[in-house]
Amino acid sequence: MPMDNAVKAILVILTIVATIGMFASLTSPAVRVLMGFADESTLDDNSKDEYIYSRQMNEETINSINALLFSINSIAHYDTNLKTQTEKDAFTDEMFSVEQERKFGATTVRYTLSNIETVFIEDLNSDEGRETLIDALIRCHYMFEDNGKKKTRCFGIESKAASLNFGELKSFATNFRETNSCNENCKETIDTLFNPLALASDKQVVEIDGSIGNNFVICAEPSAGDISHVWTDRVYLSPSLSHHSCDVEREARNDDVLGMKIEDFYLKQDVGPISTLEKFVKGYKPNILYYQMADPVIAQDFEAAIFTFDVWDVIKWELIGSALFDFIPAMKPVRKFAGAWLKSTGKEIVQRAVKEGAEATAEEIGQQWFKELFQEVGEKLSNAKGIGGVYNALKSVIERVQNVVQGIKNIPSSAINKAVTGLLGETGETATDRAIRVMTVKKEIRRSLKLENMFQGEFVDQYLKAAGRSTSELQEEFVEKLSKESFDRMAKGQSGEITEQEFQEAFEDVFGQYKDEMGEFYEYYLKNPRIVTEKYNKEFIERFSGDLGAQMLKEIRINSRIWSKFELRLNRIFNTGIGPEEQLKIVRELMEESPDEVFGEMLSSRNDMRRFLSSFSLDLDAFTKIPGPEGKMLLGAGDIDTFISKVDEFPLSAKYGAALETHMKDLGIKEIVGNPLKKKRHILILGLWFLSAKEVSDEEIFHPIGINSFGYKTSISTPAIFDDYLRKDWDYNKEKKKKDEDNKYHDYFLHYGDSVIPGVNDKKEEEEEEEPSYEEQVYVTEKYTGTIPALRNYFVALIKDQRRFWFDQPPDRFYLVAPCKADVNVQLTQIECWGKPQEAKKPTNLISSLFAKEAKYATGTFNPLLDKREEHFDGKNQMLYQVDENKDIIKLCDKKNLWEGITFDDPYTPMTITVDPVLDRSLEMNYCYEGIDEQMMVANVLLNYAIPIAGGLIGGAACGGVPICLFASGAISGAIGGTAYMALETGAVDKVPGLSTFMNTMGIQTAGYHWPYHSSRGH
């Protein structure tokens, strides 16, 4: 029966990735509440309080994210999909209220159709500000008359501080009339605008209509245009373009460019008192909303910055890295790279360098050494007075470094290169290597196959069992086929990657026999979904092809990275051939550590622990059924129970154990109390999972999430991805059959997020339920978040600091950092990008890898890696892109590299949706983005450049000009300068001895926060 074979083929493929789905259970009450499927009353009392706290914080944030994504999607839709003016008008009419508004909780989105000229006024209370405003009013009157006295949109005013009433305005205009700045024409117009014979404001041409704030518009209207002023023309100052005077004829208002203003956008975060020493040293991790991927330099900046500051992470191995390769501690990418490399190869180096006893591990020796070193730095600096004191403190530390550096110099370069190209930092075919490589390959497979089909995997097992073949057999066959060649090569130190060709060949070998049948099956399935559904498992398919399928996919996407780590950890304990005693030792160490040690301050509170645990949906029993790389169970219940039975009592720390136990109660595992073995098993699994999740969370703050996706990364989870997979109730497959793009997305925008169109559907919502429960809100909110396909043709860029410094914000890497409270302007524009398509340059050794270039492709040309043409926008909006590790497209926009040389190369100018947050200055801790002010620029140069370089030179001279010694001393000075800079950023100046005096000598203000240090121009 051909059909059976075809089904078998497709199911075999799908099962490879299906195992991941097994843990994506939705049985836990806590998870169900989080996902919106259950009421929070199912939680215990303590949890409920904590839950409500975080819920309130999250609600506002989710609404704000929805408001932003709705705005961005709308602009892309309006510009791409809506072709006629009728369609465009219908969209704005239906999706917004008469006042042009849409509400997302407390956040309001208002559309604008004009891009009218903007006049910036720094301070409306100043003479200069008011002169500018009077000038705008006069000009508006000229424009109005020049237009034949038709309704005219004149200016948008953006001011920092607005305090204005008509009396003040008239009084100022009258005074201004008598100055030399006002010529005859000006005098005549002021007389017209501000009727000197009448006092009442309704007898004037100028009128302030409505409550105007920092931003308002100026429009003009002829007499009798509105019943309230039949006798005179009017120049209106009004809050928005929805005013009747701005309702100009279509051809006069450039309606084909849609913009959005978001009022009261707020990404919330519990910041706490950052100026305290504890916060300064330990820091916290900011929540970040980003598009596609973060710029690597910025990502590393954030990881190394105060907000993610972990003293040991930053300095222990990186310091050697800096010392080895360069004196440029301010160049974080280099330092970061060196640090990452040394982290994996450091053991070998330190063993050779330090040559201490065999009892302690190399890592321990290294850590201990640096611990002492920095203790010494700390002590000496705390007593140091002035620059001379700092110099002396550094000098003695540098002398200590020399000894180690000398040891490092003795390492043959061949050993270093071997370690680097081997990537894993260990040589030889150990069991750990095997585990790692198998998991690496499995990860590769997962990426290469379509995850969205994995929900079908559950009945794959049943089918294959009947056919006499096991899923793990075929899986292993493929993995081994792939492993053999690629890892042989890897072992020879040639390359650490599996090539596209190898993957395809292995795939063809193992699964090629089903290739044709697979195609047939797909065709058959697409044509007859109902028959297939009925035949195989109606209930199952329905369950997973609807909401749950999408939800599960989301879970899998979020958890798959943690899963890899988890598997790795399990393998290291249970599948590497070590004995039970060693296993026990590892687990004991793991469980005895206090949560503070393991998770840091961030997760030390019970509340945080619970939130972290609740981020993952786990079916603990399912873990014992997952097939491992060796064809046996990865973590068989029998194996683990045998192991656990040898442990008399699990040595859990109180806080750690309590959090896990409470979480298990939340999961509904009540019977664990009566079953000690099961309890221990679950605690072990949860603990390992917990650690893996934390590890991933630490490492992957900004991992790429692919084209058309927004990720919201919190401190305790990998990014929640807002993309089109989350549009649960909006059936794209059904809608896409509609011919025109306008209708296709009608329902999508109409029901986007938990939004309300004032005057249209607000009352209805209230009638149905006065106060919708949070779980319902989450459910409703998430079902329409995400992006539409049209957005893939646009960049999304943060425009803020490009106003001042061309290098501040790369246009292709959008991100917003919490806390962020702002009014946000979202507009369509074009940006200028430089560079040409280029082929990849693979690194051949450590040094060249620092300068390795990844391939860049131009849209509209054939891409051999993707084996397809990536079409560009509209036949003319060509741009450059890269392909990331998940084979997702990442759009690129490089600024002109002025340091490389100026030529007449052709620039790319792709269409871009810009996001411009105007910060709410009433919020003291308000971040949004990283900016620069003049004081911090000076401080940056002094602390991050001058001190390291000077320190390097002084230290270098002290150890006889040996280059590597020079670099090492530069690195240490860099760490000190960097720490001081962070202190300045956060207002913790007094925590760094001597810093305040030093900065004041240099003319830099140290009082108060420099955080956030945004542009001081007030834009």
């Binding site: 424009m143 008359e145 006295k149 052709d906």
Partner: protein, 227 residues
């Protein structure tokens, strides 16, 4: 009697209402008298005084006025809202030094400023290129200040839809107002509709041979351009 009075009052009210309505209708349909010629075809009025700044000679080229409010200039680019969005990006170099570096370090260039705000005799070379639709063609107006003429009297304009086939001519310093020189090139330009852009308008010490120089930093040339 009372009835008569009532009818009279109603009649008067009706007449008043008719007069009022007539007035309103008249206001609506009467031909509008144009008092000001704010939007002009000639470029000279676009160069406006800026009476509120400290410097008397300061001028500003009004992009809005030149384009009937269909365009604006922001930092380094002119956006034109006319049948969709078009953008012209300004840039340049002064004696081989890229403008961006000065911008980055000082937030402004002390020797060369590109943009619509100018002080003609402050010793700083200032220039601005403004693009706009004119009838069925596209025109680029090139504004240079007195300082430019003093420092670079031998100025060329190079323009093309494709730089491989460019046209070069001398800048005409004849048209002049308020310390600003005005010249323009007009033609069938469409280079700004494609990406990547192969054309542009370049003004300064430039000719066709300049286009072959691999690194302009090694020269001592001053050039501004829109691309």
């Amino acid at each position: 009697m009372k009835k008569k009075l009532l009818i009279t009052i109603i009649a008067v009210l009706v007449v008043l209402l008719l007069i009022f309505s007539g007035y309103v209708v008249y206001q609506k349909i009467k031909p509008r008298e144009i008092k000001h010629d704010y939007y002009t075809i000639e470029p000279e009025p676009w160069v406006e005084d800026t009476p509120f700044t400290d410097e008397e000679n300061d001028v500003k080229i009004s992009v809005s006025r030149a384009t009937r409010s269909k365009s604006k200039f922001d930092i380094d680019k002119q956006e034109i809202y006319d049948k969709g969005l078009k953008t012209l990006f300004s840039n340049g170099l002064y004696k081989g030094m890229p403008l961006g570096i000065a911008k980055a370090i000082l937030n402004e260039s002390t020797e060369l400023i590109i943009g619509p705000e100018m002080d003609p005799d402050d010793g700083v070379v200032e220039a601005f290129i403004l693009g706009k639709y004119e009838e069925d063609e596209f025109a680029f107006y090139i504004f240079l200040d007195e300082d430019w003429k003093k420092q670079i009297p031998d100025t060329n304009i190079l323009y093309a839809n494709d730089l491989d086939e460019s046209t070069v001519r001398k800048y005409d310093f004849t048209s002049y107002t308020k310390g600003i020189y005005i010249d323009k090139v007009k033609g069938d330009f469409d280079w700004f509709l494609s990406s990547p852009r192969k054309g542009g308008v370049f003004v300064g010490e430039i000719n066709k041979e300049t286009l072959d120089i691999e690194d302009l930093r090694l020269t001592n040339l001053t050039i501004i351009y829109v691309r």
